[in-house]
Symmetry: C2
Subunit: 335 residues, 2 copies
Amino acid sequence: MPPENAKRPTIYDVAREAGVATSTVSRALSNPDRVNARTREHIVAVAERLGYSTNPLARALPSGRTQTLALFVSDITNPHFFGIIRGAEQQARAAGCTLIVGDTEESPDLESRNIERLGRSVDGFVIAASRMTDKAIKQLAAQHRLTLVSRQVGGVPNAIVDHVDGTRQIIEHLASLGHRSVVYLAGPRRSWLAGQRWRAVQPVARRFDMTAARLGPFPPAVHGGAAAADAALGSGATAAIAHNDLLAIGMLRRFAERGVRVPEDISVVGYDDIFGADFCSPPLTTLAGPFEEAGRVAVDLLLSMRDPVRNHPPRRDVVLPSHLATRSSTGQAPR
Amino acid sequence: MPPENAKRPTIYDVAREAGVATSTVSRALSNPDRVNARTREHIVAVAERLGYSTNPLARALPSGRTQTLALFVSDITNPHFFGIIRGAEQQARAAGCTLIVGDTEESPDLESRNIERLGRSVDGFVIAASRMTDKAIKQLAAQHRLTLVSRQVGGVPNAIVDHVDGTRQIIEHLASLGHRSVVYLAGPRRSWLAGQRWRAVQPVARRFDMTAARLGPFPPAVHGGAAAADAALGSGATAAIAHNDLLAIGMLRRFAERGVRVPEDISVVGYDDIFGADFCSPPLTTLAGPFEEAGRVAVDLLLSMRDPVRNHPPRRDVVLPSHLATRSSTGQAPR
DNA sequence: CAACTTTTGGCAACCGCTTGCCGCAACTGT
DNA sequence: ACAGTTGCGGCAAGCGGTTGCCAAAAGTTG
């Protein structure tokens, strides 16, 4: 028996069966106040009996509203995005929307191509950790409803976790442990966060009279850790700040291989507090943040662009607080 | 400037501009052989110039084909599903389809509700690690195109990793290390895999003259590990097989807390070989499998249901080979 | 050159639902 | 009792494509 063999009932079937016009059925179902309570009940009962359910495509065609949102993440295999995905999905569901999750595999091209492709069938986009240029984002934002996570571009609503303040926390923590020289292992060149973080490292390091160097870029994945670890060691710094936890974990592994003790010989810090950061060895000191919340906020911003509320100017640049999860990968600087 | 203010050109605009009928435009774009090469080129050029792109919704309405597939996983925060998601997405993209990924949060209700909700706007469903009953699945499969990952239900196409053989590998490995008693820490009652695995444990254990016990169910997450570890210890077994790596990692943590040495005091094995299994401490022995492939196959099966090929009966019950990733969490049985 | 086949393009009817506008009937106030 | 509201339901025109059917044009054949 092939599926879908029996045609599903339409609004016409319901109308005929209930002895009313299709418009009445439509209104009874989606605009309840517009029709008499008695008729509505009757229609609903008939619809129920026939097993009617409205076809979202047909509904979306005239209105252009699909009740669907899309979320793109730069690497779906990075547990960091879990929180964002789950938060976004919850919020979307709460608003009666479906969420499409897509992986753009670190490719700005794939980002814009996906957006172009889905443009008509989605009410808006959230892009997490976009790898596109500012210009490309602005251009896309002029054509489509768009919000960002972990990225700020003039005029485009976004939600970020405060990594500038977070970086301050990291440096202060390292300073308090007596470190005088720190190295930042950078993420991909296209990553906005990578630039921001490095820019945040410098002034704070200066304030604490530490030397700071940047190395990289490295692929923001575990396999990038080996090269990063070797480079960090070569730099002579006593503390290493990795672009993210994936990279940090890869570094820890490499250090273990080479017999370098963490934190006795070198301290390591990551960003994101991903799954695994608390049980790698040694457990990783890392900057944690409310990423689930960031996902929720980004969807909220998107929905408020779609359904603008009077006297309620859309928020932009929502900054969420971060905090340092201090674990054993950081310790007293070797003297 | 509000986005979407300028209406996008339709097929009518292109037709008018090119001086042909809409049907010709439609055919030129989607059925190239049906129109003269010269006219086609002209139409394509005009379409290009106007920035026309076809509205997928309008296209989907008459045909019922949306070129969209949905994948539901039982817990999107379990890294195990990464591979499946990525594989499915790649295959979907290769076929020109969009993939919707949804999290059903271990709830069979959410599974069926989601399917009901998306039924009309999607060409088919893949469910990974479904928590629904056989009956519910069969019923849904009669109404919708549906394939499964990590689940077998009579008649419904599916892709699984061979956990029966995998379980044999686990037991043999433990037997070879001198273990005589093993305990299986079960996953959720609704998990089909949990049942299958336990059923696979028994005969093999018997063959090797080991005693086997089952405890649980435990939530298949890190936080379920504490209770599981305590229970395993209480059972007196020298080896513990956890329902999945999340649970196993939680157990390792609890053992560490309680000062129980792994593998000296007790050996631990998991399933799935997730991100983190190789860097927890001790690194986890676990059953690995080609899950990315499983995701790909499930999408393939789905597509072949949608576009049946002559003399090409649909495959079902695709079984992929598994292999044991042996690490330090298993060792000689204590005498 | 007539008769016949094959291309090629147009007409118009859907696909299933929403919504602006209209008219009827019941209700209101004087 | 009559004109003026108001509430409720129906008509029909879209939304933007696809496609079966048909006719005109072009090509083929004897």
